[in-house]
Structure formats: C-alpha cells, structure tokens
Symmetry: C2
Subunit: 138 residues, 2 copies
DNA sequence: TTTTTATTGAAAATCGTTTTCAATAAGTAT
DNA sequence: ATACTTATTGAAAACGATTTTCAATAAAAA
C-alpha cells in the first residue's frame, strides 16, 4: 500500500505521470489530516518547488473523480480533502488537532426504515460523521 | 407560529426591525427548501425591491447567530440555509427537488460507545443526514 | 529520435463574500 | 409631534478562493 496505487490509477485512466502530480499524491496520500488546496500546495512545494497552485486544484479534482480522495465537511469549512476509505465508511474527526479516522459497522437500517415509514421518503444514502477528541487530545 | 417569532427574537437581541430584514425573514422562514444567499436575494427582492445582497448576507448571519436558521451541507455545496429545527434533530433531503425535512429519534448511543471504545476517541457530537426521494418525487 | 498532445505555471478572469463609507431611517428622548 | 442618536442601509471597492486562458514544456507514442 503506497502512493504507487494512486499513480497507477491515474495512469490507467489515461492521465500522464508528472513531477507535479507525484508531489500532490505524495502529500495527500496517507495524510491523517484533511488538507485544503493551499495546505496541499505548501506541503507539496517542499517536494517540488516549481509546483503551481493551479495544478494542485486540477490534481485534487482528478483524484476526487477517481474516488481516491473525498471532501471533508466541517463546521469551519468544507474545502479539505482526505484519502477516501474503502467501501462504506464514515469519518471521525478530532475537534482539537483535526485528525481524521474512518469507522464502519454502523447499522442505520432500522433507523432509515423508521424514517422512511414516518416521512414517506425513499431513502437512498446517508452521511454520518462523529466529532470528538482523539487519544492524544482528550 | 409566524415570522413574528423571528422578528421578536431579532428585536429582543437589540436589532432594529427594518423592511429589508422583514423581507429576508419572510423569505427564509417557512421555506421547505434550503436557500442560498442569492436565492434569498432574488425571492426577497420581490417583496422589497430596494433590498441589497449585502443585507441578505448580514441578516442571514444574524439569524444563524440566534440559531433561527442553520447551514445545510450537500454534495453540490454548503452555502444554503434552512429554518433551524427545535432541539436535537437531523435533516432528510430530497435529491430530486431539494425539499428538506427534519427527523428526530435517532439513537446513536450504542454506536458512539462502540466507536469510542474501538478508537479511544471521546465523542462529543455527530452529524447525520439522510438523502432520498420525497413523496412527490419517488 | 521525432512527433503528438496532455500538462504545466503565470497571469487574467471570475465568483462568492466581506469591508468601507456616506446617506438613511429606526428607536429613543424631548 | 420633533429632535436626536446611532444602527442599518445599499453602492462600490476590496478581497480570497477558484477557474479559465494561453504559450511553453515535457510525457508518452510512434
Ligand atoms: Mn453508514
Ligand atoms: Mn442525533
Ligand atoms: Zn486530536
Ligand atoms: Zn422531492
């Protein structure tokens, strides 16, 4: 499990592999914190100085399109990205340090059935996110 | 239950009641769809032509501050607002027409306890949102 | 190596939002 | 009612984030 997985995915989808894209991939892949475009830019430029902010936006766009990263919605803003989890998962965020973890095993079936019955809605999907303090911050 | 409730709330908190604010309140209060600032502006200007977009932003800011409205996060964007529910509630959104409903009675206690145990996090709050098709759209 | 063309970063354009500011009008005191 | 104080207003300018344009470059194919 390394960044080469993402690189191959880009390649397999007809995208060329460049130094700029490697720098962005290296930065975002494996980050334990959600990163905004500017944050990606600042970090990635330490690996590849000539990198342009525009390319960060364009690369994030492609990674999101390939479901390799996902946008993280937070009270402070919704522009940050994190590696996408595999399969059906949800996020757990530390309100202090911004660390992100995935969890699965939520069982919302009886809940959604209930709501569907009460409201008449046909429920297609759900967003669930937990906020709290991580082991280091509690 | 009318817009006068919001008007009083504004008044009680030292804000003056103006035609511009009435137009915004009349537009947002009771809307079954989340509205963006521009959408509020377009609708409210039919009630009060001289209204400025700036005032829409400023009024929404105050309504949010008083917890009378809340921001709605969606895949397409996170700038829209809807009347805030009372107490602990969650949103149910129609993916077709954008209608918003509230629901309560979710019991996530055992889930959060589980996740807390597995991850070591101290969980403080949660976001839960359901998406689907409303009665009219299904 | 040569050729093709996707990708690049700089600069300009655009979009949503915020700030500035002088004029106005809401609420209060007279 | 009238005068007074000051919060509120909308227009214009400023701002920050994102997107578009474009000529130069470099990745991949021939
Ligand atoms: Mn789930
Ligand atoms: Mn809940
Ligand atoms: Zn933490
Ligand atoms: Zn609908």
């Amino acid at each position: 499990m390394s960044t080469e997985i993402w690189i191959s995915q880009l390649q397999d989808n007809g995208y060329r592999i460049t130094s700029a894209r490697r720098a962005v991939v290296d930065t975002v892949y494996g980050s334990t914190h959600a990163l905004t475009p500017i944050e990606v830019y600042d970090k990635a430029r330490k690996k590849y100085r000539a990198l342009g902010l525009v390319t960060v936006y364009r690369t994030l766009e492609k990674l999101e399109e390939l479901h390799l990263i996902q946008r993280v919605h937070q009270p402070i803003g919704c522009q940050a990205f994190i590696s996408a989890g595999v399969g059906h998962q949800h996020l757990l965020l530390c309100q202090n340090c911004g660390q992100v973890e995935f969890f699965d095993g939520d069982d919302l079936d009886s809940l959604t059935k209930n709501i569907a019955r009460k409201t008449g809605y046909q429920i297609k999907e759900h967003w669930l996110q937990l906020f709290g303090l991580c082991v280091d911050c509690r």
